[in-house]
């Protein structure tokens, strides 16, 4: 078992380890809103995205054996004075980073390369471990980008970045709301790959429009990278052809609605979800917290609840708050009500690590 978690919360960043029992072994940024963190396994650098509210979004980095230090924050370039920019609903779109919503390392052959997705929906890339950031203009300038609109947030955002294990220059993005995007040349050009997705929240004749889909999270299988999963606003979708086409998984019990998804690194048929009531209520069905798991590509689902609260549980698990380790055996997730659970056996049994954390935004094994 990896045994070490990086937990981003409304009131700080927590390192939590299994040392003959789970314990908090490090805290950072106590009192501050940590929206996301990254442990870069290429060099063991850690990154923490902070949202100071009044004072804006910041990014910090910690090298092994050193303290956290503030580094450059991804930022939009100066907006042309005469430009009127609007999102897909026609609302004025500010050129200001309001949240860091995705933070991922590039491939092993791309040392120092980081990808960062933001709200409003822009993509940034760093080639120097976050010392500086470049705005990925090619994506911003794509005509379809102008149709993106906000889902749960006021503005559209990029929340998922999947670097293809076969080719680090191939990267896929999940956008709420804007579908799934792909580059095969490390960000020079982009195309949309959301065929087959369905958006019930749109008029019927637009429900299949790839540009307006709301994937809540995108996950790619490491050893079977043609297999991807999406937890979509409208349900669960699977791709068997590297995101070219998507198939809706229907009639998932207790619900197909949720935010996170993780896929087993060696077995693309196996994936986990945390369902909730679709979609305005957004808490566990019957206030009974469960994790769902498929082992057969979505034909059937196991409902996993051993060790999870089954009465009056109103935990919401956000899109970055479910994590699977490299072995594919150990899961952990945290909730907006400050609880954190882990499983060593693919979700069969769960251990409560803590129930007094601040609202949990993101969980990552490290």
């Amino acid at each position: 078992m990896a045994g070490k978690l990086l937990v981003s919360t409304r009131k700080g960043l927590f390192t939590i380890e299994d040392k003959s029992g789970w314990q908090i072994t490090d805290t950072a940024f106590l009192g501050d809103n940590v929206s996301l963190a990254l442990h870069d396994t290429r060099n063991n650098y850690q990154y923490a995205a902070l949202d100071h509210g009044h004072f804006g979004v910041k990014l910090h980095r910690r090298k092994p054996g050193e303290d956290w230090m503030e580094i450059a924050t991804p930022a939009y370039p100066p907006k042309p004075e005469d430009l009127v920019e609007a999102d897909g609903w026609g609302k004025e779109l500010p050129w200001t980073v309001m949240r860091i919503w995705a933070l991922e390392a590039g491939g092993a052959d791309q040392p120092g390369l980081l990808w960062c997705g933001t709200i409003p929906g822009a993509l940034f890339v760093s080639h120097d471990h976050g010392d500086s950031w470049e705005w990925v203009k090619s994506l911003w300038d794509h005509p379809s980008r102008k149709r993106w609109f906000g889902g749960g947030a006021d503005w559209p955002g990029i929340h998922s970045v999947c670097v293809d294990p076969r080719d680090s220059n191939t990267v896929r993005l999940g956008v709420s709301c804007g579908g799934v995007w792909r580059t095969t040349d490390c960000g020079k050009s982009w195309d949309l790959t959301a065929d087959g997705m369905r958006a019930e929240f749109m008029p019927p004749d637009q429900a299949g429009d790839p540009e307006i889909q709301d994937p809540h999270f995108l996950a790619q299988c490491r050893n079977e990278p043609d297999r991807l999963w999406v937890q979509h606003h409208n349900g669960i979708f699977r791709s068997d052809d590297a995101a070219e086409n998507w198939t809706e998984i229907e009639d998932v019990k207790p619900s197909g609605f949720g935010f996170p998804v993780v896929v087993h690194p060696k077995d693309g048929d196996t994936a986990w979800f945390v369902p909730g009531i679709k979609d305005e209520k957004r808490y566990p069905v019957d206030a009974s917290l469960v994790v769902t798991r498929t082992r057969d590509g979505g034909k059937t689902f196991d409902i996993l609840h051993e060790g999870l609260p089954q009465k009056h549980a109103y935990d919401v698990v956000l899109r970055h708050a479910l994590s699977l380790d490299e072995t594919g055996d150990c899961l952990a997730f945290g909730s907006t009500t400050g609880s954190l659970w882990a499983s060593k056996n693919q979700g069969e049994n769960w251990t409560e690590i803590c129930h007094t954390l601040p609202p949990v935004y993101a969980v990552r094994w490290c």
Partner: protein, 89 residues
């Protein structure tokens, strides 16, 4: 020169001592201050140079009118307070 005072809550995140700087507008004065302390700029202004949404600036007792380009005039003896635009309880 105008005097610039930053909210005490900002000190937890970045060095922001009371400063003096010349200038005819809020933008000019702050630019002088930030030139000496570049890391402070992004805590007060967004990347377009506008005042962050939940920040406020008061010059000699009056809230500034231009949050986008900070063109409000200041005098030699002005006192500029850079504050959190707090609301709620």
């Amino acid at each position: 020169m105008a005097i610039v005072v930053f909210t005490a809550n900002l000190k937890r995140h970045v060095d922001c001592p009371q400063s003096e700087a010349p200038g005819d507008t809020v933008a000019e004065v702050l630019d002088q201050v930030f030139a000496q302390n570049e890391s402070l700029r992004g805590y007060v202004l967004d990347e377009q140079g506008g005042l962050r949404k939940h920040m406020g600036i008061i010059v000699d007792g009056t809230v500034i009118a231009d949050r986008t380009t900070l063109s409000d005039p200041v005098s030699t003896n002005s006192q500029i307070y850079v504050l959190q635009a707090l609301s709620g309880g």
